[in-house]
Symmetry: C2
Subunit: 167 residues, 2 copies
């Protein structure tokens, strides 16, 4: 069980992302984790990831509802974070140890299913649908008050080692 957010395990120089970088003081600083259930971790639950986020007052589409670009950003960063965590897990390594692995988004598909209300903590749940060494696909739901407002698919591809090391 990993209580450290995936994004907090990124190398410092790859932690500037506006959506999730711990070193971007202006950004959203999304934090993603393995999804556990009351201390009882089933194999299925361990395959899922979770993140929570409360939109700022300015993040509106029309008054009362969250704008879609924020949801896209959260899905994107939860996806690449989940992909990185899964890659470490595939190698049975603790995230953040040894040579760094980082994923970037190749494709992002989002369906907006219902208006997303403001003033409520959003919950993102990620489920892996494909796991290869250099490509990981994650389906992500965004819920408010247990109602799914948006769902997305992130195709995450591994950042070349040369790019990871150069930063």
């Amino acid at each position: 069980m990993n209580l450290v957010a995936f994004q907090n395990c990124y190398p410092d120089d790859l932690s500037h992302c506006y959506g999730c970088g711990k070193n971007n003081i202006d950004g959203h600083q999304l934090k993603s984790y393995w999804h556990t259930h009351k201390g009882n971790i089933s194999e299925l639950a361990a395959e899922q990831t979770i993140a929570h986020f409360v939109p700022d007052q300015c993040h509106i589409a029309i008054p009362g509802f969250v704008y879609g670009g924020l949801l896209a950003s959260l899905i994107d960063c939860h996806g690449t974070g989940s992909a990185a965590a899964m890659a470490y897990r595939q190698e049975s390594r603790t995230m953040g140890t040894g040579h760094a692995m980082r994923f970037v988004t190749a494709a992002l598909d989002i369906s907006y299913l219902a208006p997303t209300p403001m003033g409520i903590e959003l919950e993102l749940i990620g489920t892996f649908t494909e796991v290869k060494e250099n490509k990981i696909v994650i389906e992500i739901t965004v819920s408010a008050n247990n109602g799914v407002c948006a769902k997305g698919t992130v195709v995450a591809v591994r950042m070349p080692d040369s790019m990871v090391q150069s930063h």
Copy 2:
């Protein structure tokens, strides 16, 4: 030829979107226009839309490159703005006159083709692929220095009149 940005024609109470609302002082305030070519507007050019945006210094993925969530947000808002403009055009009305028409995003699909460099004005070009009364589909490219960095498809659906009028 319309020199007023599409988003500046939205009703005041529907102009709060973080991505493009003129009344959201914290937001991106994206401005979209019909795409014209040196005063010589061909039928094809008139079917396209254009927007420009310079990312803020904080909008990074990794140092030197724009984060994907911003591109998603810009594509989204350029898409719904373009859809609204096209809907007025289909009714041969000047945008912003008569009863208001506004579109929201049902689906957003984005392919990230190349890292998007910071410090450069991005150009979005929208091309309509489907135009119906209640559903308009737009394909959008995002370019930097004339190189396409991302392309997306926005499926925009018309906001119910009741929702438009209530705001």
